[in-house]
Each structure stands twice: as C-alpha cells, then as structure tokens.
C-alpha cells in the first residue's frame, strides 16, 4: 500500500516511470478505495507500463489478461479439466465399482453416484485462468486486463461481478470471494466506447501525450545514453508531428525507439542523412512517413536559419561539423 500521493510518485520514479501528480492521485485513490482503474488514451503513452510499474513498486505479482475478439470466460476465468476428470474416473474404476456394490437396479446406482459426484466437480478439477488466479491468490496481486475494448461487449458485462464485488461464481461449486482484493487496471485504446455500467465501477484515468518537458524527462530516464541535444531535437519534432493529422500518432514508446535508434547509429543531431531512413521507427504508414519527412525538413530549415544567426555572431556550433562531413 502507498502512504500518500507523493509516496506513489517516489516509488514509481524508483521503477523509472515518471508519474504526473494526476496519475499518482488516481493510483493512490485506487489502492486506498480498492477500486479498479480504467485507463484510456492513445496507443503508446504507457498505459500497460503503468500496471507493470505498479506491481513492481508494490513488490507484487502481476497477472495479465490480454483481451481479444472472441475471448470467453473459459479463457479468462476457469475451465474444467476434462482430461484430468476422465483420467481419474478411469483410475478409480475399481473404487467406483466398490461404491456401487449392493445396489439394486440402475436407479439406485445413479443415486449412489450422484451423492458422490461433488468429488469430480471440486476445485481440484478447476483449471484457473488469469481472473480466477487473481481472485484466489493468497497475496495481493495486480491484475491487468489489457485492451478491454478488443473484447466483446458480452465479456465486459461478465466482468462486472468481478469488478464490483471482487468475486466470481462457478455454478457447480459456488462463489469464490477474493482473499486479497487485487488492484485491477483495465486499459482501453478507445476502439469502442465502454458501457456505462463498467465505467461506473471504475476510476477513470485519461493519459494523454506528455508535454515537452515530461517527454524530455522520460527520455533522460529511459535512454540516458542519448545526447542531450539530440533528445531535445527529437522531442521537438515528435511534438510537432503529433499536431499533424497522422494515421497513427507517435507515442512515447516510438519517441524512445527513435532516440535509441539514432544513438545506436551514432547520430548527434537531426541534421543527418541517416535520420530520414530511421523515420519509420516513429511513423508506421507510408503516407505518414511522407508527412513526417516534410515536417522534419521544415524543422531543420527553421533551426538552420536560427543557427545561421548564431554562427554569424561567432559561435561555431557542434552541429555544423556533421553538415560538413555530409557535404
């Protein structure tokens, strides 16, 4: 458990995640009110990471349920282990015969078996899936239900019991109540609107693209090997790219990929031919790449005119040498 909002920020920082006060407040509320969090926002802003870091900073296990179209409770909650049940009945054939000795007629035999059948429908033969695991775990866990918007609407309805009462019902056995109430995080990319019933049960957190300063801080933390100047330039370009009408807007993860790629190629400044070839780390569609190239050119033109002024004032900058090498 966290003791305060600042505690959240601190512990997240230890796990190299820069949590804004807004995020930290929601996390703190969720852990003290024992409510699930529904995290929404564009792709690549660290929604899934949030759950990972939360688990790490609390030193808890994380159980992840990846949603997809057609996911049903058999995959999410539990399944009967038919094979094991069959195997047991085979092995126990003699024993069953013993139980049945002395019965007269089929009806009596069926009655006798029926009185013992809970042996075969007990927890022993239940194969727990992520949700069941999270509920029955002895220690508190972090349960990540990833991309809930990808699952069908029926599955969402099925989750309601779990999210409000932290219990699940298996018809043959009964209701399992959570031993330790798990911290639940649901993420959604807004592929579809969640139902009001689900939203009502959750705290809502919208993570947007980071501001310039936040993004710089994240790069410094996650890719410390990158040159300060490069990081600064990359952030400027990515920030302006986000303002364009792109098919897939670059997220933080794309920014990090780009910075790491450029650093690996030993690029010190965006004023470099290699930059064009690495653009596909941040934009993923052909049309987007074209737009990004134009934006990059525009940015470089601006920088050059600015630096032109500075050079005239007599300060030979590092970026100039790159250009010389290229020419």
């Amino acid at each position: 458990m966290f003791s305060s909002i600042d505690d959240v920020i601190e512990r997240f920082a230890e796990n190299s995640y820069i949590a804004s006060r807004r995020i930290a407040t929601v996390i703190y509320l969720a852990s003290s009110l024992q409510k699930p969090i529904l995290v929404e926002g564009p792709a690549g802003v660290g929604k899934t990471d949030l759950a990972k870091v939360l688990a790490a900073s609390l030193g808890e296990e994380m159980i992840r349920l990846q949603c997809y179209e057609g996911l049903d409770e058999g995959k999410a909650l539990y399944e009967w282990e038919y094979a094991k049940q069959l195997l047991y009945t085979q092995i126990l054939k003699d024993k069953i015969g013993e139980v049945l000795t002395g019965t007269k007629g089929l009806a009596q035999a069926v009655d006798r078996i029926a009185s013992e059948d809970e042996v075969f429908f007990s927890e022993r033969f239940v194969l727990p899936r992520p949700l069941m695991k999270a509920i029955t775990s002895e220690k508190q866990v972090v349960l990540l239900i990833d991309e809930i918007d990808k699952a069908d609407a029926e599955f969402e309805a099925f989750l309601l019991e779990l999210l409000s009462d932290f219990q699940v019902t298996v018809p043959e056995i009964g209701t399992f109540k959570a031993k330790q109430i798990p911290l639940v995080i649901l993420t959604s990319n807004n592929a579809r609107e969640m139902s009001d019933a689900l939203k009502r049960r959750c705290l809502h957190l919208y993570i947007d693209f980071p501001t310039r300063e936040q993004e710089l801080a994240i790069i410094r933390l996650k890719a410390p090997e990158a040159a300060e100047k490069l990081a600064d330039e990359v952030v400027s370009v990515v920030q302006s790219l986000r303002k364009l009408d792109l098919k897939k807007t670059p997220g933080i993860s794309e920014t990090l990929d780009w910075v790491k790629a450029l650093t690996l190629l030993n690029v010190q400044s965006l004023d470099n031919a290699l930059v064009d070839e690495t653009l596909d780390t941040i934009v993923k569609y052909e049309g987007d790449v074209r737009k990004a190239q134009e934006e990059l050119k525009e940015y470089l033109r601006k920088v050059r005119t600015r630096r032109g002024g500075a050079d005239a004032a007599g300060s030979g900058s590092g970026g100039g040498t790159d250009k010389d090498l290229l020419n």
Binding site: R21, R22, T25, L29, L33, L38, D152, E193, L203, H204
Partner: protein, 470 residues
C-alpha cells in the same frame, strides 16, 4: 463538503455530463482520501471518479475552475485592485492594513461583522459570508442574463450593503474628529471608498459567474449552431473527433448484429456430406465428425448522399458522416446524387476531407446544380451499380426526398431492399414536413427498415441508439 460535491455533480449534469449517484458517492470517498489541502489532487480525485469519457474532460476542467475557486479568485482579484489603486507595494499594504486594524480596534469596535472583515482584508471570511448570503437568496436557481440584476440586488440586501454604507459614512465622520496625519487620513478615506466599491464589484461579478456556470450549455449550443452555418473549411478538430466517435458506435452496432447471429450458430450443425467424405479413409467408420463452419461476416455499408441545393445546410454534416464512415472502415462504398448518381469511394479514400468534399461538390462527378431527382438517381443506381448491393449490405440513404415532382420510381428502392440486408434513410428535414409539397418521403418510407430525422450529431446518436440487433 458533501453538499458542495452534490451541487457540483448537479452542475455537471446540467451541462450534459452523466454523473450517477454511485459516482458522486465515490467522489465523496475519494475527496476524503485525497484531502482538500492540495488543489491538484482534489481535482484529480474528482476527475477520476466523476468523469468517465475523455470528451467530457474539457467541460469538467472549465466547471471545476469556475465552481471551486470562483468566488475566492474574484475577491482576491478585487483586493489586489484596491492595493493597486492605492499604489502600495505588498509590504506597504500589509503595514497599512495593520494600522487600519489598530484604528478599528480603538475607535470602531461596534462595526458589523461584514464591515470588519471587509476593512481588515479578511478574504476567506468574506468569501464565507458571501456564500451564506448567496444560499439565503437561492442563487443556485439563476439561469438567465436578465436575472442578474435581480440577484445582485437580493444578494446586496442579504449582505446588508446599505447598512455598511451607513457604517462607513459614520466611520469617516469619526475619523475626521481624530488627530491623524494628513497623508494617512487621505489614504484612509480613499481606502474606505475603494473598499465599498469593491464589495459592489464582487457582488456583481459573483452573480455573473454563478449565471455562467449554469449557462455553459447554452453557450456551447450557440457555438454549435454558429458552426453549422459555416462552410466545410471551418470543421473543427473536435467536431471531426465527435463524428468519428459516433461512426465508430454506429459500426459497432452493425457489427454487434453480426456477432449475435454468429453466437447463435456457434456450434454449427452436423454436416453429413463432409463427415462421410472425410471418413472414407477409415472405411466409412465415422472417426471424425464434421460440423458446419462458422462464417465470418463483416458488415458492408453503402451510402448514398444527396448533395443538391435543397439540403445545403445539412450536406456538410452528411458528407462528413460519409467521409468518416469511409475513413474508418474499408468496406464502405459511397455515392453522391442530385439528378444523377456517381461513386465517390475512391475520391474519399485518397483525399483528405477538405479536398474530398471539394471534388465531390465541384461537379466533376455529377452535375450538382441540377434539380434533384431521386427517382432518376435511384433508377440509374439500379441499372449501373446494383451489383454493389448484396445480402450483407446495409444501405444508408441521406436525403430530404424532395423530388421536384419528378417520377419517384419507388420500385427501384424496393429492388434495392430485396437485395440488401436493410435500408436506413436519414432525412435532414423535420418529420412534420415529410410528405408535404414535393416530398416523396411517404412513398419511399415503406421500403426502408428505419427512417429517421437526422441533421446533426445529437440526432445521429439517437438514431444509432435505436439500431437494435435483429
């Protein structure tokens, strides 16, 4: 605190945000946990518990600012103004206030509470008294601009403004008798005047703010109406985003219909033919059973959009609808028609919205200046493009059915209906006018599965909600 949160929830509701009772309870619990000390955390706590849609965030931010700091900010601003008017630095002002405090203690102890707080610059106390007075005159009921004056007067009366005026006058007379430095006296007199004016000022601003709080929605509406008259070039980002959201929901509905069907036949029936064939290898003993395979069906959509002059006002909305539909889903074919029909699928796919609409309305594809002729357009569609319609296709027609007394050719629509899964007709005209004049709506209506009035986003939402799986 609970009262304030409940009122805030009401305010959100008045502005079109859905906040349930359970969510309000959550907000109270969250506010207790986060504490009131830190404004940012408090704000985050309320946001997380009360707002569940990203599109509602701006409304929340705006209202939160107005509601939770409103009065305090006004008072602070006003007292800063007083300080500026007296042209004193912070330090001087503080010194001056101490002197005033001293003076009041010695000579004017019988002043009313409000006057004391006012002159001592006790902003917090002042705010509290104002709020109490506001509650007493039921200021939460204010809704219209014309009520501002009434409430301002009522609030002034509740605070006892005329009494304060009297008191301050008396205080001035009293001061004249005292032996004070002339500089200080001049300052003091001006200070008293300013303070009195400030109070009136605060009252007026406070009332206006209260009114604005409850009026956000009407302002928003005014802005939307204004937008509706503008041309395509003024489509705001926000509007496009909202449209995309609506379309996504529409498509979800169409898809859900499929999903329900699929669920029903999930198991699949026993397939004798394939079972026999498969098991010939085992000498006809049926080792492997075969069942009907599930068929994956994706909804296909075909849109026909009227772009004639008679629907000019709504065509912006309608084309935006068509464009978003196509932008988001690949299996959409789009047509525009006036007196003839032409396909714009490719155009919409390759261009961005501005260019796409330009091309569609320029007249390259069809003559857009003709008189609309639904009958002819439908007939041409049936003869040229009927192949595009199959039993999985949902046909959406956007138009007002104003046919200029041409032949309606409603048999074409019947033909389309027989081949399509369903026909949805969205008419930008109000329902009352259907069937009057040259409107052929009633004739076409019988062939459609769903006919709705729809000329803006809100109505579109309503239509989508009515689309039930069948």
């Amino acid at each position: 605190m609970e009262d304030k949160l409940v009122e805030f929830a009401n305010l959100l509701r008045q502005n079109g945000v859905r906040v349930s009772l359970a969510e309000t309870l959550d907000a109270v619990a969250a506010a207790e946990v986060s504490g009131l000390g830190d404004r940012d955390s408090f704000r985050s706590a309320l946001r997380a518990t009360m707002i569940k849609r990203a599109s509602e965030l701006p409304v929340f931010e705006q209202l939160f600012d107005v509601y939770f700091s409103g009065l305090g900010e006004i008072i602070k601003g006003a007292s800063k103004e007083v300080q500026d008017a007296l042209s004193m630095s912070d330090q001087e002002f503080q010194q001056f206030l101490d002197d005033v405090d001293q003076l009041l203690k010695e000579h004017a102890d019988e002043l009313s509470e409000l006057a004391k707080q006012l002159l001592r610059n006790e902003n917090g106390q002042l705010e509290k008294m104002m709020r109490e007075a506001a509650r007493a005159v039921r200021m939460q009921g204010i809704q219209r601009t014309i009520e501002e004056n009434y409430f301002a007067r009522a609030l002034a009366r509740a605070l006892g403004l005329d009494k304060i005026e009297q008191e301050i006058k008396e205080l001035r007379e009293q001061l004249e008798k005292l032996d004070l430095g002339s500089a200080f006296r001049a300052k003091m007199e001006e200070y008293l005047d300013r303070r009195l004016k400030m109070l009136e000022d605060i009252i007026r601003k406070y009332v206006r703010q209260e009114r604005e709080k409850r009026d956000l929605k009407s302002r928003e509406e005014a802005r939307m109406n204004q937008l509706a008259d503008k041309s395509f070039y003024y489509l705001s980002e926000e509007e496009m985003a909202k449209m995309r959201e609506a379309i996504t929901r529409l498509a979800q509905r169409l898809k859900n219909i499929i999903a329900v069907r699929r669920k029903r036949m999930k198991k699949g029936r026993f397939d004798i033919k394939r079972t026999l064939r498969k098991n010939i290898a085992y000498g006809g003993v049926p080792f492997k059973l075969k069942f009907d395979q599930r068929k994956k069906e994706k909804p296909q959509i075909l849109v026909m959009c009227d772009v004639s002059d008679s629907v000019r006002n709504a065509s912006r909305f309608m084309l935006q609808f068509v464009y978003s539909l196509q932008d988001l889903y690949s299996r959409v074919r789009s047509f525009v028609f006036v007196a003839d029909i032409g396909e714009v699928t490719e155009n919409f796919r390759t261009n961005d919205i501005k260019d796409a609409l330009d091309v569609a309305l320029k007249g390259d594809i069809i003559n857009v200046y003709a008189h609309s002729d639904f009958g002819r357009s439908f007939r041409n569609f049936v003869s040229d493009h009927i192949g595009a319609v199959n039993k999985r296709t949902t046909v959406i027609i956007l138009g007002d059915a104003r046919n200029n007394y041409n032949l309606p050719h409603d048999w074409c629509l019947r033909e389309i209906r027989q081949r399509a899964r369903r026909i949805i007709w969205l008419n930008p005209e109000s329902r009352n006018t259907w069937g009057f004049g040259d409107s052929e709506m009633e004739r076409y209506q019988v062939h459609c599965d769903l006919v709705e009035e729809c000329r803006n986003l809100n109505q579109l939402y309503r239509v989508i909600d009515q689309l039930v799986p069948r």
